[in-house]
Structure formats: structure tokens, C-alpha cells
């Protein structure tokens, strides 16, 4: 296969950035998308040009490191597939592909296709956990969890934190990411004590990071490689309303009750 790539090149956060065209030959349909970029990078290095920077690690669709916008769609055209799991047989021979980084105020570009997603970590630090100090846990089977609830919690917990939802959203909202964690923990009996404070704290942090508001476009779910459902956003909204309707809701600092 032959391809024409138009790749976003940006040397750093302060550089304006631009598309650069590359013609790639010798692409096998069995290659993964990132292997195709590897081949291009090897060629660039061979010509002593700077290779294209992109994040990746597991190449199995689970670590959430990879991700770029391919022809306007986060992670490209294949449904429920991360960039690293995408294979070249998905594209026609001679295809022209435009590759861009996630674009969102809360995800500044580091270089080329690499962005800074540490905002997600800070949202988790704000409340995306169950406080269970090491050594304090009761016997695991002492709490029964209906299979239905456990399965639904697992559906939400499958989020890989890649950021495609943010990249897909016209408002660059992180609602699906936050809703997935709020729902995962809120569906389990262990997550009940902190349920109200969790949702309030996480939403407050999400806003502070500069993510946009959710106006129900649903683009996030369509782009999500793990098919996280926007039903979880409805669940977040319910939890949030309930929490703020309670007396004295407060965004607590993480771990506020500890020590």
C-alpha cells in the first residue's frame, strides 16, 4: 500500500505548529497504524530528519497512552478501537490521512502528536477513589455484590483514560471520563460512604482544569474505544444533584478525613 500522510508537527507548546506532508510506501495491510508510523520514523531517521513524536506503550488497546485524531476522528475510523489496535487493512490503498493531536485547552501539546493529559490524574486525585487504607479491609466475601451491579461497574471501569472523549467533544468536556469513574465506584457497596463527596470533588476539579461543559452531543461515546456509555453521564448528573441538594455539600480535599 501507499499512503499520503499530513502530520501535525509542533516542536513544543509555544510553537504554532503546521501540517507536514509525507508519502509512505511499502505499507503492509497487516501492519498496525503505529507500525506504519514506526516505518516512517525509521525512514525519517535514515534521512537525519526528526521523527514524529507520538505516545504509545502497550500497543494492545489497554494502557490508554496512544491516541491521535485521524481524518477528524479520535483513534480513527474503526469503531471501538484505539489507534494502536487499528490496522492498515482498514484503509484503502492510496488513502490520504490527516493526523493531529488531541485538541483541548486542558490537554496542552507537548510535541507533535503528544499532549499533556495530567489533568485526568488531578481529577482522580480530587476524589476518584475509595478510601481503603492498606490493611484495613474486611474479608472479601463478607460483602455481596449482585452480579448485575458488578458487571455494570466493570463496564464503567473499563475506561482507559486515553482522552478520546475530550478530543471528540465540541466543548472539550471530560464528562464521560469523570462519569465512568463516578459510576464505577458509585455502583459498588464499598463506594457508598464517599459517593456524594466524590462526585462533587471530581466535578469541581474537572471545571478547574478547564474542561468544557457537557451539552449532550454524544460524540464522546461514539469515539470511546471502550464503548463507555453516556448513560453513565446521566448517572453522574443524578448523583451530583442529589449530593448538592444535601445539607452542606462540600468539595473536600482528597484524603481530607485521613491522618
Amino acid at each position: 500500500m501507499r499512503l499520503t500522510l499530513h502530520v501535525w508537527r509542533q516542536s513544543g507548546p509555544r510553537d504554532a505548529g503546521r501540517f507536514v506532508r509525507y508519502d509512505v510506501t511499502d505499507v503492509s495491510p497487516d501492519m498496525s497504524f503505529l507500525e506504519m508510523l514506526d516505518v516512517l520514523n525509521q525512514q525519517l531517521l535514515g534521512r537525519q530528519e526528526e521523527p514524529i513524536a507520538f505516545d504509545h506503550d502497550c500497543r494492545e488497546g489497554i494502557c490508554g497512552a496512544c491516541g491521535m485524531v485521524i481524518n477528524g476522528r479520535p483513534h480513527g475510523p474503526q469503531h471501538a478501537t484505539t489507534t494502536c489496535q487499528l490496522h492498515m487493512r482498514t484503509f484503502p490503498d492510496g488513502a490520504a490521512l490527516w493526523l493531529e493531536p488531541w485538541r483541548a485547552r486542558a490537554f496542552p501539546v507537548v510535541k507533535d502528536l503528544v499532549v499533556d493529559r495530567s489533568a485526568f490524574d488531578r481529577v482522580i486525585a480530587a476524589g476518584g477513589f475509595i478510601t481503603a487504607r492498606t490493611g484495613s479491609a474486611p474479608e472479601a466475601n463478607s460483602t455481596l455484590v449482585p452480579k448485575r451491579d458488578a458487571d455494570l461497574a466493570m463496564d464503567a471501569a473499563a475506561c482507559i483514560g486515553c482522552g478520546a472523549c475530550v478530543a471528540a467533544c465540541p466543548n472539550a468536556s471530560a464528562m464521560l471520563f469523570v462519569a465512568a469513574k463516578v459510576s464505577h465506584l458509585g455502583l459498588l457497596p464499598q463506594g457508598q460512604p464517599e459517593r456524594a463527596t466524590r462526585v462533587v470533588s471530581m466535578v469541581a476539579q474537572m471545571d478547574a482544569e478547564g474542561f468544557g461543559a457537557c451539552t449532550n452531543h454524544g460524540e464522546c461515546m461514539a469515539a470511546c474505544p471502550k464503548e463507555i456509555s453516556i448513560d453513565f453521564i446521566a448517572r453522574l448528573n443524578r448523583d451530583y444533584l442529589k449530593a448538592v441538594a444535601r445539607p452542606k455539600p462540600q468539595a473536600v480535599k482528597a484524603n481530607g478525613g485521613d491522618v
Binding site: 503492509s28 506503550d57 489496535q85 479491609a137 452480579k147 473499563a158 482507559i160
Partner: protein, 637 residues
């Protein structure tokens, strides 16, 4: 070098409990004053950093990914073992201990393994309390499945994403401490060296992967939780970034490296499709619960699998091992797969594959049950191969997966450098010459949640540590050395990329120090590695600068360390004139083709000591003493 295991006295089952009660404690006010450096945020590192911070220590945690949640542990699929005996099928702490020792072909330390089995019970409790959504039965109780090398169902799982869920649990605990200001997290920061002051580990030198700046962190103890080194083979099931640099650099500073040649080749991976291949994808061992492995009886039989009649198939694992069948341990399964392929009975391109067939299970249990158990694995397989395992059997072939070898540690998980600890896959403990499935997650979390947080206190309570900051001359010196190494890589400006060198090294290692080994091949490979390493130093092309985001430079540094490690692996494999577990020396096998151990000569841990550049490393031996089990020829027939 003296290797003192510090194994406590007393009956095996009481050792850890007694030891824990005798251990010295650090007072709460003093804990705050101690700064502990944790390198790595996988299951081992994240659980340790979170637990240490909860105890009151001041913690810094480092990882090279952009977020601690992306550590390689996230990719573990199948499950985690624990001797809960929820299935009432006769499991017990002793049985898990025994299975692990036997699975490791009697090359691990009894006391450590017993402690691991004991601790397994608490791990499941801890993770459940954190909200890890383990699979459940309809009544709401936790569900289990079976893994290789055992006859009980003791594996807990969260669909095919167990590692992800366990890591997110540990990551969330870690982030809770970050939010509370007790852990400072340094993502995209790579440890490039260890700083030792007056014989004690006092800090690390790191490179900020975004700015490229070289800097340091000083502390009272350093914990390496940096994972395994299967990527020495280039193609492996590990994430692309997995590397040996942190533990290799510590080795060069005095930490003994134990059993480097014990590397696990996992039997069920998707076969390679072309020379562009950048990694191999694991198909979880749990698939062997329901999938049956076979090849055609006739050599070169190229008919589609469904046209090959039952009577023309060889279910070779079931034939050779009637009591364990498809669930024999990994080393045994991998070797047998290689054997049938070498005989010319392999299937798929190049004959490097065997079938893993679900037709019987689908007929017996229904498609929906199989979909629920393995749905995401089937999808992953189909994405990569464009074949649907519901209709055609999977094709699988062995691939490098896990490294049992690693830094030598004592019962406290301390290396041969005072104040330097190694936990998780980075150390050598517990799995001997072969790891059983679902035991790495268990070990990583046992080390991080329940062992290290106690044992590190015993050290800190005893030693008198002087004030050492990053302005100490030792830090300046190591920073200089690190910068010079970076400069050298950039200055070579040759013609070959680090990736090309890495591939070549990987091929050498796979061919001669992989699934089977022999003296002649190892000797030749030692020479070839040396030659290739020299060429690397001269001819590598990195490009760009040190003071910027430079992924080629990151890779080059890792490849440089893989060269040195590869040499040690071959030396270790050459010196061990026996076969045990994953280490299969062709010269030493039973008439049935099984590994033939030599306990009299090799019943020890080989702990290699760095002797300086260009000098042969020194072999130290920790004899393995068995108080309770009696090493026997492993049998899974």
C-alpha cells in the same frame, strides 16, 4: 560478596507472623522525616508508594509514562491467584505455596514463597475494598477460574482486564496520597542511575523526558519497582517502554543480579506476521481453560482446520499430560509447541503456530458463555488477524513474556546495596525458574502492599543516616556520568537507528538464549553480542538534542543497557549446566524431553556481581535449602 537471605527461624507457617512482630518500628514523627523514593508505578510501585504514604512517610514516585496509570501492569489479562478456597476444591495456603515452588522447578526460596501464599488472602480483601470489580457469581460472591500448573480454581479476575482493574485500584490509592500532598508524583521522568553514599542507596539521577534536563532526587531509601526485561528479545508481550535500565544501573553500582537467564516464554501469543512487527500480543492463559490445543497428525497438512477430522488431529498436550492436559505450566506447554512446529506440523504462515480451538467449548457451553468469558480477547485477536475465533480456531505460538530473574533480594526485599529495595517483577524472588500464571500480580501486590512497608521500617529504624542532599558531591558525580552517557549516544551520529540494533539483538537472543539453549550457541552469541555492542557504540544514529523531548534518545539508552544485560543472560545460561523450568539446556533432558535438573550442582540462586567494565562478572551462590518440600522431578503426566 556475602548473600544473607535473613530468613527467620521457626516453623515455616509462623515465620512471617513472628518476624513481623519482632520488626523494629519507626515512630510516627520520624516517618514524616524519612523520604522514600519509589521508582515505578505498576502494581508493585503504586501499591508500595500509596501504602508507605499512608503510614506517614514522605514519598516520591517516578514513572516514564505520562501517567502512573499506564504502567505495564495495566496489560495483565487473566487474573490473580489467592488461596481463598472459595470453591471448596481443596485449596490452601500450603497448596498454593507448594504449587508455586514446584511450578518454579525448585529454584526459589521456600520462606519467601510461603509468605507470598499467606499474603495472597489479604490482597483480594484489600482490592475488593478499593472497589476492584472482580467477576462475581449470581449470588454475589466472588468467582474463580483455573490457570496452568494447578488443579484448583483459585484465580480471581475482572473479565480479561484483571491487571487494569488491580492497577487502577492501586493508582487511585496512590492518587489519593498525591491529592493529600504525601506523595509527589514524577511522570515522564526516567531513572538513569543510582547514587550510593557510604555504601547506602541515597538517591537517583533522572532525566525529565519532556525538557531533557538531568537532575536528582535524594532520599533515605530507594525502591525499584521497574518491572521486567523481556524486551531484551525486542519482540515480546511487554509494553514497548519496558526496559532494564533502572535495575541494570543499580547492578553496576553493586546490586547483585540473580538468575538473569530465567525468562518465561508464554505459549499462547499471536504469531508474528511480518518483519514490521513491533511487538507480540498475548492471548491470556485463561483461554486454556476452554480452548484445546492441537496440530494435524500429518506433517505439512495445509487443509483448513475444519476439514481436518478428529482422528487426524493430535491434541498433543492432552496426549502427553493426561492429568493436566491443556493446563500444564507455561514452560512445558511452550516447549511442546515448539517441538511439534519443529517437526513440521505447525500451522499458519511459516508453520510457526498451533491451533487453540474453542469449538468443543462453544458446543458444550454455548456461544454466549464463551463470549462472556473471553469476549474482549476474541475481539483483540480478530482485530489483529482478521479471523474470528468463534468460527476458526486461534493460531498461537510462544513469545517472551516475563522475567523471573532480577535483582537479588533478601527476605526484607533489600538488594545487596543497603537501603536499595527491589519489588515486583524487578526482583528475582518467588517464581524460581518458571512462574505460574496469575502469580505475578499476586507477587507485585504482596510486595507493595504488605511486605515492603514493614521491612523498610526495620532498616530505617536501625540506621543512622547523615544528611545527604542532591548537592552532595556523589550526586554531582553521577549526574556528570549520566550526562556523558547521553552525550556519547548523541555524538556517535552513525547510520543505524537504535531500533534496528534492538531488533538484531533481539533476534540473536531469541534464537540462542530463548526457548532452548545449548553451550555452543551461547558461546557464539556471546561473541556476536560483543561485536554488535561495539558497532552500536560507533554506528548508532540518534539525532536531535539531549535537552528536549527525544524518544529516539530514550530508546537508545535502553538498548545500550540491554546489550550489557544480554551478555550476562548468556553467561548465566551457559554456566547453568542443567535444565530447570524455563531454562532448557538441550544437553540436559530426560528421555521424555523434560527438563533435567541437577540439584547437587545447581541447587542455588546465581547472583552475579558487577566487576567493572570489560571484566567478567563474579558469580555468587545462595544455596537453596528446603525444610519442608522435597525437590522432585516435576511431573504433570
Amino acid at each position: 560478596m556475602e548473600l544473607r537471605s535473613k530468613a527467620p527461624a521457626g516453623p515455616l507457617a509462623d515465620k512471617w507472623e513472628r518476624y513481623r512482630s519482632d520488626i523494629r518500628l519507626v515512630s510516627p514523627t520520624n516517618k514524616l522525616k524519612h523520604h522514600i523514593i519509589v521508582v515505578g508505578s505498576g502494581l508493585a510501585g503504586a501499591s508500595a508508594a500509596a501504602s508507605l504514604a499512608e503510614l506517614g512517610y514522605t514519598v516520591s514516585c517516578f514513572c516514564f509514562q505520562d501517567s502512573p496509570r499506564r504502567a505495564h501492569s495495566i496489560a495483565a489479562q487473566g487474573g490473580i491467584n489467592a488461596a481463598k478456597n472459595y470453591q471448596n476444591d481443596g485449596d490452601s495456603v500450603f497448596r498454593l505455596f507448594y504449587d508455586t515452588i514446584k511450578g518454579g522447578d525448585f529454584r526459589s526460596r521456600e520462606v519467601n514463597v510461603y509468605r507470598l501464599a499467606e499474603t495472597s488472602l489479604r490482597i483480594i480483601d484489600q482490592c475488593t475494598a478499593q472497589g476492584v470489580p472482580f467477576a462475581r457469581e449470581y449470588g454475589g460472591l466472588l468467582a474463580n477460574r483455573s490457570f496452568g500448573g494447578v488443579q484448583v480454581a483459585r484465580t480471581f479476575y475482572a473479565r480479561g482486564q484483571t491487571g487494569q482493574q488491580l492497577l487502577l485500584g492501586a493508582y487511585q490509592a496512590l492518587e489519593r496520597q498525591v491529592g493529600a500532598g504525601k506523595v509527589r508524583m514524577y511522570p515522564r521522568t526516567e531513572m538513569l542511575d543510582l547514587v550510593v553514599v557510604d555504601g547506602r542507596a541515597r538517591g537517583i539521577v533522572v532525566r525529565d523526558l519532556v525538557s531533557g534536563a538531568v537532575g536528582s532526587s535524594a532520599g533515605d531509601a530507594v525502591v525499584l519497582a521497574t518491572g521486567g526485561y523481556s524486551n531484551v528479545y525486542y519482540l515480546s508481550t511487554n509494553a514497548k517502554g519496558c526496559n532494564v535500565t533502572a535495575i541494570w544501573r543499580a547492578h553496576r553500582r553493586g546490586a547483585a543480579f540473580a538468575n538473569p537467564c530465567f525468562t518465561q516464554i508464554h505459549p499462547t501469543c499471536i504469531p508474528q506476521t511480518g518483519h514490521h512487527q513491533s511487538k507480540l500480543t498475548l492471548m491470556s492463559e485463561s483461554l486454556r481453560n476452554d480452548g484445546r490445543i492441537w496440530v494435524p497428525k500429518r506433517k505439512g497438512d495445509a487443509r483448513p482446520p475444519r476439514e481436518i477430522q478428529e482422528s487426524e488431529r493430535d491434541y498433543f498436550l492432552e496426549r502427553l499430560y493426561p492429568s493436566y492436559g491443556n493446563l500444564v505450566p507455561r514452560d512445558v506447554a511452550s516447549r511442546r509447541v515448539k517441538e511439534v512446529c519443529d517437526e513440521g506440523r505447525g500451522v499458519g504462515p511459516g508453520g510457526y503456530g498451533v491451533y487453540l480451538d474453542f469449538a468443543d467449548a462453544i458446543a458444550r457451553l454455548g456461544r454466549h458463555v464463551i463470549a462472556e468469558r473471553y469476549g474482549n480477547l476474541f475481539e483483540m485477536y480478530e482485530r489483529i488477524t482478521a479471523e474470528n475465533p468463534f468460527d476458526v480456531p486461534m493460531r498461537i505460538y510462544p513469545a517472551p513474556h516475563y522475567t523471573m530473574g532480577g535483582l537479588w533480594v533478601d527476605y526484607n526485599l533489600m538488594t545487596t546495596i543497603d537501603g536499595l529495595y527491589a519489588i515486583g517483577e524487578a526482583n528475582f524472588s518467588d517464581h524460581g525458574a518458571n512462574r505460574l500464571g496469575a502469580s505475578a500480580l499476586m507477587q507485585g501486590l504482596a510486595d507493595g502492599y504488605f511486605i515492603l512497608p514493614y521491612t523498610i521500617g526495620d532498616y530505617l529504624a536501625q540506621v543512622k543516616l547523615g544528611q545527604v542532599g542532591t548537592d552532595h558531591t556523589a550526586f554531582r558525580q553521577v549526574e556528570r556520568e549520566v550526562s556523558e552517557r547521553v552525550e556519547r549516544l548523541l555524538a556517535a551520529r552513525g547510520r543505524t537507528t537504535p531500533d534496528a540494533f534492538h531488533r538484531e539483538l533481539g533476534r540473536l537472543m531469541w534464537d540462542k538464549c530463548g526457548m532452548s539453549r545449548n553451550a555452543q550457541g551461547l558461546k557464539e552469541t556471546l561473541q556476536k553480542i560483543a561485536a554488535l555492542g561495539e558497532r552500536f557504540a560507533r554506528d548508532v544514529y540518534v539525532g536531535g538534542k539531549g535537552e528536549e523531548f527525544n524518544q529516539t534518545l530514550e530508546h537508545a539508552g535502553r538498548v545500550a543497557d540491554f546489550f550489557e544485560l544480554a551478555e550476562l543472560m548468556c553467561r548465566d545460561a551457559l554456566h547453568r549446566e542443567e535444565s530447570c523450568g524455563s531454562h532448557f539446556r538441550e544437553e540436559f533432558q530426560t528421555p521424555e524431553g523434560e527438563a533435567k535438573r541437577d540439584d547437587a550442582r545447581f541447587g542455588y540462586v546465581a547472583a552475579w556481581e558487577y566487576a567493572g567494565a570489560g571484566k567478567a562478572p563474579v558469580l555468587n551462590k545462595e544455596p537453596l535449602e528446603f525444610e519442608v518440600v522435597h525437590p522432585a522431578q516435576r511431573s504433570y503426566v
